[in-house]
Symmetry: C2
Subunit: 454 residues, 2 copies
């Protein structure tokens, strides 16, 4: 029997098992579901043992447990793959917007509807079935496989960094594979080779020591809200370029090949604009929209707050004003370096008639991996084989903190081989996962482990 025949033969059982997996209300943020998260972790251990994975154990943490398993029988000359995923899910509110109960999986229109269907239980499940198939047909796995499934991804992977730090040798690997991102589009697989970093700052402008009557005092002192606006206005020029000195110093320019890759991606900018209902798109001069949202650094105000914000008018000259401003970074910008440059620049342009404080709230460095590394090549061939088309190489505009952790702590590149779709309502009511991608994703995962051995 071929691997593909095995997948087809057992398809109905797989769907039953997926249903079982999706039935656990493993909402990591809800204390009342703590037991459910734990039970889901235990189910995974049993499942991993059931499909023939040699070693599987539940590691307790101060929060939810980490599922760790390994099957390293391929020998030292074969590469080691670490498969990472998460079995916890987002809350389900507002419950009334769900067509079916979120933890009673329903199959219709070629999709499975349930919380966690696409993010990330459904995608984790693909790998389990790929590994089961390989073990069932071949009696062994083509590479050494380590499996790390956490129960706290939706609450910021609180205990994962320390776990990885304490288990560096055990987790050592040649590549990490993660299936927790979408395809570029239906039938269009993609591999993400770049993630933006983040530098999230807060500016506090203090004017007078108390809110003042704008009639009695207005005109004599710098209004901190006006000053804040003037500072923010100076952070970008009229070409959409960030004016912080040295901001672009470490940016690796998009190569000719990368820009060609961006240009080859099917993208309807008018549909994109229309979907956001903005009068026109707008970004750094000289770059395309797709480059704007993933290949270039940004600076966005995330929050503004000052004075009276209720309905109506209050003639207050506010004592203070604050803004949250974050920058998305691209390789090789360093979040700490950018934070310092930002703070220095803001202080340099702040009027000396107010007191300005700049706080670094948090950050993450960008990630850029070789598009031609072993893991990427294997994933590329696997996706091609399963989907019948070459995958696109793309960059993501956001950060995926776990990739940065793997990069820093294990020095291993992460292969983001996702099978979701953009509109599958991850984090929203009626989350679902395409059954077509369940099937193709199992195949692609299976091929990936095979290709990694070549």
């Amino acid at each position: 029997m071929t691997h593909k025949e095995y997948l087809e033969l057992h398809h109905d059982r797989f769907i039953e098992e997926l249903t079982e997996f999706l039935t656990f209300p493993s909402i990591s943020t809800a204390p009342e579901h703590s037991k459910d998260v734990h039970a889901c972790g235990e189910w995974l251990i049993k499942h991993l043992q059931g499909i023939g994975i040699k070693h599987a154990e539940l590691h307790e943490t101060p929060g939810h447990p980490i599922v760790y398993a390994e099957h390293c029988e391929a020998g030292p000359d074969k590469p080691t793959v670490l498969f990472y995923g998460h079995y916890d899910v987002q809350p389900v509110d507002p419950l009334e917007l769900w067509t079916n109960p979120p933890f009673t999986p329903v199959f219709r229109d070629g999709k499975v509807f349930a919380r966690g269907a696409t993010d990330d239980k459904g995608q984790v499940f693909l790998h389990l079935k790929a590994l089961e198939t390989l073990l069932a047909i071949d009696g062994t796995l083509p590479v050494n496989v380590k499996i790390l499934l956490e129960g706290e991804e939706e609450i910021g992977s609180i205990n994962l960094p320390e776990y990885i730090e304490n288990n560096k040798e055990r987790l050592a690997c040649d590549a990490v594979v993660v299936s927790d991102t979408p395809l570029y589009g239906p039938g269009l697989p993609s591999l993400c080779y770049g993630l933006r970093g983040l530098c999230y700052m807060e500016i506090h402008v203090q004017g007078p020591n108390r809110d003042l009557h704008s009639g009695s005092y207005g005109g004599s002192i710098t209004n901190p809200a006006n000053a804040l606006c003037e500072i923010i206005a100076k952070l970008k020029d009229e070409h959409g370029r960030i004016t912080i000195p040295g901001f672009y110093d470490d940016v690796i320019d998009l190569s000719v090949e990368e820009r060609a890759g961006y240009a080859a991606l099917p993208f309807d900018s008018e549909a994109f604009r229309n979907g956001l209902e903005v009068p026109a798109l707008c970004g750094e001069v000289g770059y395309t929209t797709l480059e704007h949202i993933s290949g270039r650094p940004t600076l966005d105000v995330n929050g503004l707050n000052s004075g009276f914000t209720g309905i109506g008018a209050k003639t207050v000259l506010p004592a203070k004003a604050s803004a949250k401003v974050s920058m998305r970074l691209v390789a090789n910008q360093d979040t700490d370096d950018i934070a310092k440059k930002f703070a220095d620049y803001v202080q340099s342009i702040a009027p000396n008639t107010v007191k300005v404080e700049v706080v670094n709230l948090h950050g993450a460095n960008p990630v850029l991996v070789e598009r031609t590394g072993k893991g990427m090549n294997a994933a590329s061939r696997a996706l091609h084989k399963a989907y019948g088309v070459e995958p696109y190489f793309t960059r993501e505009g956001g950060s995926i903190p776990v990739c940065i952790i793997f990069d820093q702590k294990l020095n291993a590149p992460t292969v983001l081989m996702g099978f979701g779709l953009q509109d599958e309502n991850a984090h929203s009511p009626d989350e679902h996962f395409s059954l077509e991608n369940v099937k193709l994703g199992m195949e692609a995962s299976l091929y990936f482990y095979q290709e990694m051995s070549k």
Copy 2:
């Protein structure tokens, strides 16, 4: 007996009457005190009749009643003075910060402590005693006197404009006198000849149709909060001048005499700065601080709101941002004209990649009266006689809506002859009124009516 001897002779009784007047908890904003406001109005009617005012009646309104009285026996060749004041008071919270109960007047340190002591019952009372004295000694008043005391000043004079509109002839007068402002300083009487107007606007900037993930979308569209900051930053130049085209067109420049008057005012700008704890004062280049706060127009942000304003970081690209921006106006700026210029300018500088809406929340025109009119001259001589020094002529930075109503509806200039002090806690716990100014205020009021007849 002279008028002054009468005032001295009856001083103790006056204090008892003032105590009685201050005992009414006439808090206009509190429905549970509605009866107290009414009772206080009735007390005034009785009191006015008691001192010999010919005609006094309580006018019911949909809210609290208006006390109207008149004593017009001086003949048609004598001027008519309308005395305006209010008998309602502010709420007393936080009650625990009062040293004594707010409606049990206490006399200590040469002051009377009670809610309403300085704002405005105490100051209203001065005029009643001046009129009593004139009637007692002379048997008549030197001018025709009309008295208008409202019970809704602290809640925005809701029913006053309509009352005045409906009683224009009855209220017709040559000058309005109001004692509801502070002296320039202890022992330093002043007469206010200018009030700033107001133009209070709101700017709404709409970006995308929903809050977006700043990683997935950041860089491709105009962030409405950044756009708002850029718009606001363009409303003033680096010299503190407002850049709205035509904004200064109708401003009457401060005359050489006025600027000399400003310069002559005792003012410690370092103490002013220190009291606000700002690193440095700042205002329109070419003008002094006192000119900034009352003689020149301003533009201040009163509120800013966008995106995430809680503690910590949320990587949101906000759908919208809004600001409240108000301008203080000086004669002869017109609030509707300025509102239009503001809206036009904001739209002209707004990027075409967002939608911008500008709303006119409310406004008031500035007031500037002749410093040499009959009322001002009479008040000036009266204050000089009572305090032994010439009063300063000053402008107020805020608006006093009632002055604008009198100006518009009665075409009568208002003489702001106040006897409070800046630090007498109007609107705060431990409100009080200096007994020295009770005494001098009665004299000055008495002289004012006398001087008006000359």
